[in-house]
């Protein structure tokens, strides 16, 4: 994974320093700001690959920072940190454009995992191409490649794979897959989705790409671990 420049906006110096050191250890350049005003100035001047934003800031709060950031058309991924674990705040945060949120206190490996996932998602889609490990989907030419070799995908398999790639490392419910895949009022049964997924598995698993079944819910395209990339597995907090 390419290393990027990350901005941490957090008024607690100890926590900010800890997060910064962890992310530096993961190979990123890290800047730390103590207030929303400073953060907005910084994002106006520099390009960041990711912003980690605390909600409870002195002065303008994290929501306001996020709103102003998005209103100036910054597509930078934002991971919101909040001590207020009320759902209202979560929904509010995701509504105004946060890409993910974490409730304080959080386990550091989980933060690292989320940061990596956000960066992978941001980097996976460069232009018309989506990549995931050895898999590349060219969405314009509608061609798939696995390890450089053309991969033959039926229309529905392609559609299911696209949904899974868009939600990589997160669960895609069967319902959401059906909604994305079914066209023009056509009925698609959950069983049909199972068939497409099992065909995809047959084609992708030999290359180390795993699609996990979440019993009674849907599927999850797992993080690709075949390249020997060091991994900090999420732990329980």
């Amino acid at each position: 994974m390419r290393s990027v420049r990350i901005l941490i906006v957090e008024d607690d110096a100890s926590l900010a320093a800890g997060v910064a050191q962890i992310l530096q250890g993961d190979g990123h350049a890290v800047d730390t700001m103590k207030s929303g005003e400073q953060a907005l100035v910084a994002t106006g001047l520099e390009h960041f690959g990711l912003v980690i934003l605390d909600i409870g800031l002195p002065g303008i709060d994290g929501f306001e920072v996020l709103r102003r950031l998005r209103s100036t058309d910054h597509r930078v991924p934002v991971l919101v940190l909040t001590a207020r674990d009320q759902l209202e705040d979560r929904v509010h945060g995701l509504d105004v454009g946060a890409d993910d949120y974490m409730v304080k206190p959080f386990a550091m490996p989980e933060l690292v995992a989320r940061v990596r996932a956000l960066l992978r998602r941001a980097q996976a889609r460069t232009g018309p191409k989506i990549t995931h490990g050895p898999l590349t989907l060219d969405t314009v030419a509608r061609r798939a490649y696995l390890g450089g070799q053309p991969l033959d995908l039926a229309g529905r398999e392609w559609a299911v794979l696209e949904v899974l790639l868009a939600r990589v490392e997160r669960i895609a419910s069967k319902e959401s897959i059906i909604q994305s895949v079914a066209s023009w009022g056509e009925e698609l049964s959950p069983n049909a989705i199972e068939v497409y997924v099992s065909r995809l598995r047959a084609k992708l698993e030999p290359a180390g790409i795993r699609i996990r079944t979440v019993r009674g819910f849907g599927y999850m395209l797992e993080e690709f671990k075949g390249t020997g990339e060091p991994s900090l597995a999420p732990q329980e907090s």
Partner: protein, 459 residues
Amino acid sequence: MRAVSSLRVHLLRLLLPPVALLLGIGAVAAYFLSLEPASDAYDQALVDIGLALRERVRVSSGSYTFDLPGAAERALRTDQFDTIYYSVRAPDGAAIAGDPELPAIPAGRTAENGVLAYDGLYRQQRVRVMAMLLPCDGGSCTIYVAETTRKRTALARTIVLSSVVPALLTALLALSIVWFGVKRGLAPLEALSAEIRARSARDLRPIDVAHSPDEAKPLVQGLNQLLGQVTEANRNQQRFLTNAAHQLRTPLAGLQAHTELALTHPVPDAVRGQLEQVHGAAVRTARLASQLLALARVEPGRKPDASARVNLRRIAEESADEWVRRALAKDIDFGFELADAEITGEEFLLREAYGNLAHNALEYTSRGGHVTARTGIRNGRPILEIEDDGPGIPAAERERVLERFYRIPGSPGSGSGLGLAIVREIALAHGAELLFDAGADGRGCRATLAFLPLSQASP
């Protein structure tokens, strides 16, 4: 102030003596007012007999004789109810005819206007006697006419019945009007107290003054003022807790971050062990802080917004990523069986309850185990359920696990024992039941939150 146990009894106590006195006086007055004219009429009949008897007194050469044919005497003495006696005495006092033993005029009384009425005893019977002084041949004969008192007693009884009975009925009526009138008059108060009784301890909304009777308004306003103060105190507590949570969690997050950071560096094994201890303590303290906050949020005084509809299915769906991720880290299969289950409730609290049950299931299920989150309608009630195939909760412990800070002796994991107490509080706040039993095939634990159907939940 004297304690008044019952307004009704109090009112009756006040009313009963004057009502009884008035009715008593009325009854006595009616008795005498109607007895006297009737009695006078009977007396007059006796006087008439006396007058007829006088016609039978004859005087010849200074001696008085009385001549009454047998038939006439029988007619005279005949009465349907009573026996009539008479006695005729000459001016010199000699008995001429009749029953000479009739009681004489009581000492000290004289017949004014020639007539005197008095009561006496004759042949062991009460009698009414009319003594008359009547002119007979220059002198004055005394004629006594007496009558037993059967008629008069019957009359008196009739008068008593016709005056006292209605009076008693009137009294009863008056008292029952008071009894039921008080009940009726107090009906708005009853309704008010029923409304207050029906409230849960969490419902601190003010009582509607407009619907209270005028007399009860000061009481209701006083209550509302108190409710307002309690609500305000609760709000202050909420603000304090929210601030405390923020103040506590950020440094805890820092502590956690730094110990984790330190653990990524090569450190001597002895120090590593200590660092891991510090890290574990930081993680547990942080979770404990979150749980205390959640527990405080469901303390009485916070009533879930009854208008907020929550689909329990969404609660499970929205946090699916988080719990599946955690389960994967422990190599546990976390699955779902979700159907729609709408209730009214507070989403944050329900999410907290679900999270605590899910956390417990993951905590006590070993690697390779299964956890299933379930929502839907069972027996007409919306349910939220977590089932695992871990060691389960022994039946004897199922009550105790709901106590704060209680942990089953010897159980693994590092919980504080607050999780299920929080779930129970949240269940109470939503009028839901929290049930524990074994999972499928009698293995593991199945924790079920059974809510009220939507139709019953809305007030």
